[in-house]
């Protein structure tokens, strides 16, 4: 049977193939990636797009949690100061209600309570990074304005809206409680109770009742403060979750698109062996033919 007298083109094609395999393996080993262009593995390339989006979104959630955390922590510690101030007002009120104090002693106490009142106004007007934290969503103006004509001594100019923010897939968190709910709730109006205490101290009557009001407002506020404690806990928990999620995503990314170095190196070795064998074959193709023997 007659055979192809010139095997060189086939050998060259084989050389090209082994060279291509070597290049692919080297690229995988040097880049650590098995999916460099989408055609390397279309399915994995598409999943990698989603993986990158999820990772990037999780990173952003962590940044947003950082922003929210600052505000929540600030609000929480401010509410703690408010409680302390109210406790001081209560002890002053109890002292004044004793009945043994004269008018000038009460006036001295009243001055101190006035100090507490303005401290409370300033605490309720807490501003964090340019936003008033207890103003509902009307965050650009201080929510409490001193107003002598108001029965409580202040006017609330914020609103009663709240913000919620997405901080994960299927995880949204309310980030604020408006002052109208915290400090000016009907029946537990902190400013009203302090104003009542002040009036009592000035007139000498109804001090005990006012102390009762302040106590009730302080207890109410303590209950409200739980919101910020919860929020802070949830943020920390979400942070932990997101960090483990990012680790899982990185693992997935590596499984999808990372080069399997052991396999790549094995492939490279076998491709190199094949390449050398083919090179030897090409060199061997230059065999003498019958012409070489004709004298």
């Amino acid at each position: 049977m007659r055979v192809n007298p010139n095997p060189l083109p086939d050998l060259l094609a084989a050389l090209q193939q082994t060279q291509q395999q070597i290049n692919t393996d080297l690229q995988q080993i040097s880049s650590g990636q098995s999916v460099i262009v989408p055609s390397d593995d279309p399915g994995a390339a598409a999943e990698l797009v989603q993986n990158a989006a999820q990772t990037s979104a999780a990173d952003q959630f962590l940044r947003s949690i950082g922003s929210v955390q600052g505000e929540v922590a600030n609000a929480d510690s401010t509410l703690s100061s408010v409680t302390t101030a109210l406790q001081r007002a209560i002890s002053l009120g109890v002292e004044a209600a004793n009945g043994t104090l004269n008018a000038s002693d009460r006036a001295a106490i009243a001055t101190e309570v006035q100090g507490i009142q303005s401290q409370l106004v300033s605490l309720a007007n807490l501003s964090y990074q340019g936003s008033y934290v207890f103003a509902g969503t009307a965050t650009q103006t201080a929510p409490y304005v001193v107003d002598p004509t108001s029965p409580s001594g202040v006017t609330y100019v914020g609103n009663s809206s709240t913000n919620s923010i997405t901080l994960g897939n299927h995880f949204t968190l309310q980030t604020n409680v408006p002052g109208s709910q915290l400090f000016s709730a009907a029946g537990n109006d902190m400013f009203q109770s302090i104003q009542d205490l002040l009036t009592g101290l000035q007139t000498g009557t109804g001090i005990a009742a006012a102390v009762g009001e302040v106590t009730s407002a302080a207890n109410y506020l303590d209950a409200q403060r739980v919101f910020y404690g919860n929020a802070s806990n949830q943020l920390t928990a979400q942070q932990t979750y997101l960090n483990s999620d990012i680790t899982a995503l990185a693992e997935q990314q590596n499984t999808l698109g990372g080069a399997d170095l052991a396999t790549a190196i094995t492939n490279l070795t076998s491709a190199e062996t094949a390449h050398q064998a083919t090179l030897a074959a090409v060199a061997g193709a230059n065999q003498p033919n019958l012409f070489s023997y004709i004298k």
Binding site: P9, V49, Q50, G130, G136, T137
Partner: protein, 458 residues
């Protein structure tokens, strides 16, 4: 009656025939590396005998013809496979360029979509912060320009493929002209009863080249050949060639015409077929998907903008310039409509601290709003399609390469020049030549003997 002269003539015919045969061998050896060359064999036949009663005497040998060894069925399989190969080569080369646009980078569309939504999430955490708002505008601008860049790259690639189409049609015309000329030469030689082997080889080579450019059907007719493309459109009829023309269509892309008929959609294989397929089907399909994504995103974002309030407490206006109706060209023209960061409608109640509308905008990232998918899912679908196109075409290409290689091996085993064989032939012809020459010498001696005989008698 036999004669010495007759023997001398027979010996001479042997010398001539072996010389001719040696020439064929020499020619084969000389063409051992000529592409498309088919080995030739001398066709030696014994000359017509003469009858001198009661003897029938041979009159020597004649080199009747020189035959090129080829298998027409194999040639036609090679030509078919060359068409497929040409188509896949063009397709793979073009699509590999296309897919670079969809390789994950710091500024591909997928990354910019995520960055945009990330900036919205940041805005949701600090809705009144102007620098965060500026961040949203920047991300929106980057998103728009990533769409613009990708869409423009695709259009540019389409334009350069279009230039390929025009060039390829030029090459096709040149080759069909060449084939028509060769048809003439072959026809001329063969009608004179001569062998046109090397012209046939050249023609086959030209047909193979033509096959790599466009789908061709070969219909042999006596001593000549008819070549048709795309549904029977003639390219070569005997010695006449028909030129293909190109004319730009409304979109500025060139369509292929044969004798006034548009045959663009009928060209399915060869380099021209592959190029047309990428230019007219695959790239437009990707463009349409990008347009759907860009228009869907822009409209959805604008819709949410209109439902909320900006930092000034006014109802939101378009963040992106509205995409063209129907979406065609949306990716190329996507642009941000506002420059004042205060105009982003983050608020749902008109107060500057509200993030309700920013949340609604962020929710678009997980809503199945683009053709039933989220923006990222839709984009990853495009990446899959592009990658799949390339990987399928590459797989077909390597399969076709294998087939073609095998067919070429077969052709070489039939038509290729084997130096061993030629050397053996050469030795054979040389020996026969030497023998004939020896016969001449012997006859010469015999003639001399005869002449000597006369001298003695006289």
């Amino acid at each position: 009656m036999s004669s010495l002269n007759a023997s001398l003539a027979i010996a001479l015919s042997g010398l001539t025939a072996e010389q001719g045969a040696l020439e064929v061998t020499t020619n084969n050896v000389a063409n051992v590396n000529t592409p498309g060359y088919s080995r030739q064999v001398p066709n030696l036949v014994s000359s017509d005998p003469i009858v001198i009663d009661p003897l029938t005497l041979g009159t020597g040998v004649t080199l009747q013809s020189i035959e090129s060894i080829r298998d027409p069925i194999l040639e036609s399989s090679i030509q078919q496979e060359t068409q497929t190969q040409g188509q896949l080569n063009a397709q793979v080369a073009a699509l590999q360029q296309t897919q670079v646009n969809f390789t994950t980078s710091t500024s591909d569309i997928g990354t910019e979509i995520t960055n945009f939504f990330n900036s919205i999430n940041q805005l949701s955490a600090s809705p009144a912060d102007l620098s965060v708002r500026q961040g949203v505008l920047t991300a929106a601008g980057n998103l728009a320009s990533s769409f613009n860049t990708t869409a423009n790259n695709l259009t540019q690639q389409q334009t350069s493929l279009d230039q390929n189409v025009v060039q390829t049609v030029g090459q096709i015309n040149q080759l069909s002209q060449q084939i028509a000329q060769l048809n003439g030469q072959i026809n001329h030689l063969e009608s004179d009863g001569e062998s046109a082997g090397s012209f046939v080889d050249q023609r086959q080579q030209a047909i193979d080249q033509l096959s790599s450019l466009v789908n061709v059907s070969v219909i042999p007719s006596n001593n000549s050949l008819i070549l048709t493309t795309a549904n029977g459109t003639p390219l070569v009829l005997g010695t006449q060639s028909f030129q293909l023309q190109t004319q730009p269509n409304a979109a500025g892309l060139h369509e292929v015409y044969a004798g006034g008929t548009n045959i663009t959609s009928l060209i399915t294989s060869g380099q021209l077929g592959g190029t047309l397929q990428v230019r007219d089907q695959q790239i437009p399909a990707i463009q349409a998907e990008l347009d759907t994504l860009a228009a869907g995103l822009a409209n959805a974002v604008n819709g949410v903008q209109a439902a909320g309030y900006d930092l000034n407490g006014k109802l939101g206006t378009n963040l992106f310039n509205p995409p063209p109706a129907g979406g065609t060209g949306a990716a190329a023209s996507l642009s941000v409509a506002i420059t004042d960061p205060a105009l982003i409608a983050a608020s749902s109640d008109g107060t500057s601290g509200s993030n309700g509308n920013a949340e609604a905008m962020y929710a678009l990232s997980t809503q199945a709003g683009i053709d039933g998918q989220t923006p990222t899912d839709y984009y990853s679908g495009i990446v899959f399609n592009v990658g799949n196109d390339v990987s399928n075409a590459t797989a077909e290409q390597s399969a076709s390469t294998q087939v073609l290689q095998q067919l070429n091996d077969q052709r070489a085993s039939i038509s290729g020049v084997s130096l061993d064989q030629e050397a053996a032939n050469m030795v054979q012809y040389q020996n026969a030549y030497a023998a004939s020459a020896q016969v001449v010498t012997t006859i010469n001696t015999m003639m001399y003997d005869v002449l000597q005989m006369n001298v003695l008698n006289g």
